[in-house]
Symmetry: C2
């Protein structure tokens, strides 16, 4: 999912730059410390950490920024001032949330066989290039190098998953609060993995592509760790009541699902001049989305099905399928789903208006505004 | 690596059975609790936990038994009695060490493409069978089912790696002791992953198969988490001084390396009627062992090389290669390496005789005796 971190207010721009630096410092220190500790195990192992460090630091920090913005927002007016751990601990948890994101991306790339992310080689792609360089110890075959590179993706994912847990387990917090965050981490990982399994099962044809399953998958796979986790961690770290954490979780879930649905929507119906992606890749890959699940229930499906998931689909053919998806009502249906999630989100804000501090409310509204104005 | 947990003394037999039950109870509770929590995410996700639970409980508990035996041994005579956490916490860490072992096995199986372990389908093999059953939602192709099953292996490995960390992070211990155990876990995972990467790099021909590299790999990949981790965790949990932890770590490293070298030795030169494995699989797979690294440095290598790593090697051909490996001195060389490690181990015991409690010494000597009398 793409979530831009562009600010809508000048005040936020300034504090976001500061936050970015703080998160970058924390992540940079962590990754370079690990790369140093890895050096005695040889250049190949150290290289894993070095590549991962470059990639992690090249991220947009969407999740840690959301965590810290909500954390800061919940400090003014302080709700339970005696209960707040120091801000540096929040930064370390925010950084750990980014490590978790990168660990998920790595294993996702292994599972999907992807070698590229955001137009650049991912860790697997980098290892692939380097293994075959003239300074390599020997000249292994293409399949062996691919195996070596994908293994690097699995192993680095494991190391970052471990590093995420280490950061949570070592957080300088009262033990009950540490346990609350560990519960949240456990819940998040369980749900995200359940979502990834659903996604892969849908793609492999092991799980039936029903609309309900696809919507559950979108929520589990992305909304949970991208929206709920940062918001709930912020609430816990700021010493907010569990009821506040629960409101933020629900709001985050609606926004997260809206973002994911919009992602799929823009991939198919958006303007490629705006989002810059291949406008037909979802159709060519046969990705099971809410759009497709709806179309499957209409009389238009028999005409669409033969074209769906065909990698050799030409531009005009794909254009034709897209028009059919629009004509059968799938486009409007998914737009409706997004609007429903946004309406539920605003309803939550309205219902709990008295309990949500204004600054916290603004963080959420900014997020929703990004979504509403989004073209890519 | 195969490490039998057969007891050499009747007294030990009895207490080992009790220990086994305690570890089994802990693991059983943990895995069934997780399977229950997984149920709301659908039958496929719950099934992952159920299969993993069966497999984990079917293990021999070599590592948790070693941990608990050393933990108990260090209690009498008590070294710092005020400092001991309760025994149930030690059981929970011992169980977590078994989860870590299983997480490593799962990702190892994904990396190696294995579908079987100890003659039975592993988790991937089980998923493979079940995905194609008539009650499946559809009839996906063979490649899609394999992808689904291997993804299950990656995801379940992630979940168990997370569960391992959760157990360490939640251990009912004073925080400084918890941090000491978290340091140990971090070190263990780093080193084991470095070893796995070396192993894969050697197999893929990306890393040159030098003897020194192969010996490092054996130590990192297996000795660290199979011997050092349980022994060091026992020392920490029993409140032993860091110096005692360090002696146990060194002793464990020598024993672990000896076990791994013996494993490779028996695979090639052992009596298949004793170890029950295909006696030539290492040769057919082209496994880079200390035996091969030595042979490569002798004048016999040009005659061996054409046969090495050829999957179609016949029995008589493999028998011939094995004789060449013996004649060139590789058999005696590796036997010598094993004896060296054992001698170093005994020297450690002798040098620290005054500081190692007798019961702890007996645990280590039992372990070495298993190795010395081992035929399989």
């Amino acid at each position: 999912m793409t979530v831009t971190s562009s600010a809508t207010r000048i005040k936020t721009d300034r504090s976001r730059t500061d936050l970015c630096s703080a998160i970058e410092d924390e992540l940079g220190g962590l990754m370079s410390g690990r790369a140093l500790a890895a050096a005695p195990y040889g250049p190949r192992f150290a290289r894993l950490w070095a590549i991962a460090g470059e990639n992690v630091l090249g991220g947009k920090f969407v999740r840690p920024l959301l965590l810290m913005e909500m954390y800061d927002a919940l400090q003014e007016p302080r709700m339970r001032p005696d209960h707040h751990p120091d801000r540096q601990t929040a930064i370390s948890i925010a950084a750990a949330v980014e490590l978790l994101h990168y660990a998920f991306l790595l294993h996702d790339d292994v599972i999907d066989g992807d070698l590229v992310r955001r137009g650049r080689p991912n860790l697997i792609g980098s290892l692939l290039t380097e293994a075959g360089l003239p300074h390599a110890d020997s000249q292994p075959g293409e399949l062996a190098i691919l195996h070596w590179a994908r293994t690097g993706g699995i192993l680095m994912g494991d190391l970052l998953l471990a590093a995420t847990h280490q950061a949570f387990a070592r957080a300088n917090l009262p033990h009950p609060l540490r346990l609350r965050l560990l519960d949240l981490l456990e819940h998040t990982i369980n749900e995200t993995v359940a979502g990834e399994q659903l996604d892969v099962g849908l793609g492999d044809g092991v799980i039936a592509p029903e609309l309900e399953t696809i919507l559950l998958m979108c929520g589990y796979k992305t909304a949970t760790y991208t929206f709920e986790l940062p918001l709930r961690a912020a609430a816990a770290l700021a010493g907010a009541e569990p009821s506040m954490e629960s409101v933020l979780a629900t709001a985050g879930r609606h926004l997260g699902l809206a973002f994911q649905l919009q992602d799929d929507f823009l991939s198919t119906f958006g303007d490629p001049r705006q989002h810059g992606k291949d406008p037909f890749s979802d159709l060519r890959e046969g990705k099971q989305t809410a759009i497709i699940a709806y179309a499957r229930m209409t009389s238009a499906w028999p005409a669409i099905e033969p074209w769906f998931g065909r990698s050799e689909l030409s531009g005009p053919q794909a254009e034709h399928v897209r028009r059919q998806l629009s004509d059968c009502g799938a486009e409007a249906f998914v737009q409706g789903l997004i609007q429903e999630q946004l309406a539920d989100f605003h309803e939550i804000l309205r219902r709990h208006a008295a309990n949500i501090p204004e600054a916290a409310r603004n963080v959420l509204i900014d997020l929703a505004a990004q979504l509403e104005g989004r073209q890519s």
